[in-house]
């Protein structure tokens, strides 16, 4: 499922291959974070597809709070706090693109 999502994002990308690699890495980092937090919080995670609605992912607000905080430490930024336009992602694809735009 991870691969499906990365490919979808890959195909949607019009950037050069180098940038795409970075984007794939970002996607992989985020998906790994979803899995880690779900495991640590004892949640059953839905398959991580691009169009997975975050509220139906099996994660609660606390899980998302932890994901955003740990991603901030690993990636060095938090798009929720730093974005000029207020935005709340609905799907996992939205979430990854939000982080991609935010860096």
């Amino acid at each position: 499922m991870t691969l499906v999502m990365q490919e979808t994002i890959l195909n949607a990308s019009e950037q050069d291959s180098c940038a795409t690699d970075v984007k794939t890495d970002l996607s992989a980092v985020i998906l790994a974070k979803f899995r880690d937090v779900a495991a640590a919080q004892g949640k059953t995670l839905s398959p991580l597809t691009e169009d997975l609605v975050l509220l139906e992912s099996g994660l609660d607000s606390l899980c998302f709070a932890i994901i955003v905080a740990t991603l901030e430490d690993e990636l060095g930024y938090d798009p929720f706090t730093e974005a000029e336009d207020v935005y709340f992602p609905v799907t996992l694809g939205d979430f990854v693109r939000f982080y991609d735009r935010g860096r």
């Binding site: 607000s61 606390l62 998302f64 905080a69 938090d78 706090t81 207020v86």
Partner: protein, 459 residues
């Protein structure tokens, strides 16, 4: 209310409603026509025996809490409203402190601790005789997030409804919805607004998926919707919110930051958005309706039903909406000698506005639920490899704050990764999920104050 007039009971207020037939309460599992309960009972034969008694309200479905409050207001001497997360092992202490004589619940086979169980059962039956609402019932609520035994405060219906103004004549009947549980102060405020303001209400309960509740809210045509900023962030992340078209949006229970206010303004264009300050102890303080975070400095010192003062950086409120006091023996006075309640919420003036900057004593507000650092530190410090620890708040765009722990290990401590896993296991065993440190790190030392206490920041 006319000075000197006796407040109506909830049942009396409903009975006088001109449009009672169209009004309902809905929970995830049940619904109630308000016309039925105005002239009926879910307590049946148990109701007369509860007159003048101190009763404990312990229900699974919050709709039954609403029913019991309607039936018992003005009848029971005291109603102790258990929040959904009150632990079973806290009940004996609560019963003793509050002098509870009977337990009201819809749950069959509930542990009664030797008291009478007054069962709530639906459907509502006609009342044999309307019980006389002769008393000013004491409403007892639990303060959120205390460390140690649960703390209870006493309110009256008059105090609880002090901030509620009558609906404007000719206004469309409101359908209230709230993401809070009605057994907590914020949610109870909304229930009372619905009951006293010619409205209906949809209520949620722990464990109901947000998407399901949003679908129910859309189905019932919710017009007035309230929650914490964290609740609202979750709404903004949902697809179901597109089906909502509220006429009023309200936030309280946490610091409403500018991003969440702006996002709601964009999502619900043209809809009035207010954020309110209230606490279980001090009651409803004020509402801010200009769409900006914080509150105008002009609120401080102005005359009115609620007086606002800032002292030593914290917000103080004085009004008849405050609780009358703590029930717990030996508890400190709720208000100072001057009648002001120190909320413990720290504010900072920037230009012509005050902004909330956190809580005194490092109390952490995770999505509206308060966390005392000492409670978590106590669990962490029980690990044999831990010398000391400090739990603090870290700002978070999803839940407002998360709990972060810094731990100092003993010299002989084993592998830190193992210790970390063991500490977190212990925290998950002994603490509610929102209290478990979201992040835990090791540090060589922690700063102490001159008095030898851990240094704590506000937020």
């Amino acid at each position: 209310m006319i000075a000197g007039a006796e407040p109506l009971s909830l049942r009396g207020t409903l009975s006088a409603s001109p449009r009672l037939a169209a009004r309902h309460l809905w929970s995830a599992g049940a619904q109630l026509a308000l016309a039925d309960i105005a002239a009926g009972t879910a307590l049946g034969a148990a109701l007369p025996d509860l007159a003048g008694r101190a009763v404990l309200l312990r229900v699974a479905d919050p709709l039954y809490a609403a029913i019991a409050l309607i039936e018992l207001d003005g009848v029971a001497r005291r109603i102790v409203i258990c929040p959904p997360d009150l632990a079973d092992d806290a009940l004996p202490g609560v019963i003793e402190v509050a002098g509870v004589e009977a337990i009201v619940s819809e749950m069959a086979g509930i542990e009664t601790h030797g008291l009478t169980h007054a069962p709530l059962t639906l459907p509502v039956r006609p009342l044999a005789a309307t019980p006389e609402a002769t008393r000013q019932t004491e409403w007892v609520m639990f303060t959120s997030g205390t460390s140690g035994p649960p703390k209870m405060v006493a309110h009256t219906l008059a105090g609880l409804t002090g901030a509620i103004t009558p609906a404007p004549a000719g206004a469309a009947p409101p359908v209230w919805g709230t993401f809070y549980d009605i057994r907590r102060y914020g949610g109870l405020q909304i229930l009372l607004r619905a009951l006293l303001g010619e409205g209906s209400m949809a209520m949620t309960q722990p464990g109901e998926p947000m998407a399901d509740f949003l679908n129910r809210l859309a189905h019932h045509g919710v017009t007035h919707l309230t929650g914490t900023p964290s609740h609202w962030r979750r709404v903004l992340m949902s697809r179901e919110s597109a089906a909502l078209s509220p006429a009023y949006v309200r936030l309280s229970g946490e610091i409403a930051d500018q991003p969440v206010l702006d996002a709601l303004k964009t999502r619900f264009a043209g809809v009035p958005i207010g954020h309110a300050y209230a606490s279980t102890e001090a009651g409803v303080g004020f509402e801010v309706n200009d769409g900006l975070a914080g509150f105008p400095a002009s609120f401080v010192g102005r005359p009115g039903e609620v007086e606002i003062r800032i002292e030593d950086g914290s917000l103080r409120l004085r009004s008849t909406r405050a609780a009358s006091g703590y029930l717990n023996p030996g508890a400190e006075a709720l208000a100072g000698d001057d009648g002001f309640v120190d909320t413990g919420d720290m504010v900072e003036r920037r230009g012509d506005r005050y902004h909330f900057v956190g809580r005194r004593n490092g109390v952490i507000n995770v999505g509206g639920l308060k966390v005392h650092p000492e409670e978590i530190e106590a669990v962490i410090n029980r690990h044999p490899a831990v010398r000391m620890s400090r739990v603090r708040s870290r700002r978070n765009p999803i839940t407002g704050a998360i709990v972060v722990a810094e731990v100092v290990l003993t010299d002989t401590a084993a592998d830190p990764a193992t210790v970390k896993a063991e500490i977190l296991d212990a925290c998950r065993r002994e603490l509610a999920p929102f209290k478990v440190p979201a992040m835990l790190g090791f540090t060589p030392a922690l700063a102490l104050t001159a008095g030898g206490k851990l240094e704590r920041a506000f937020a």
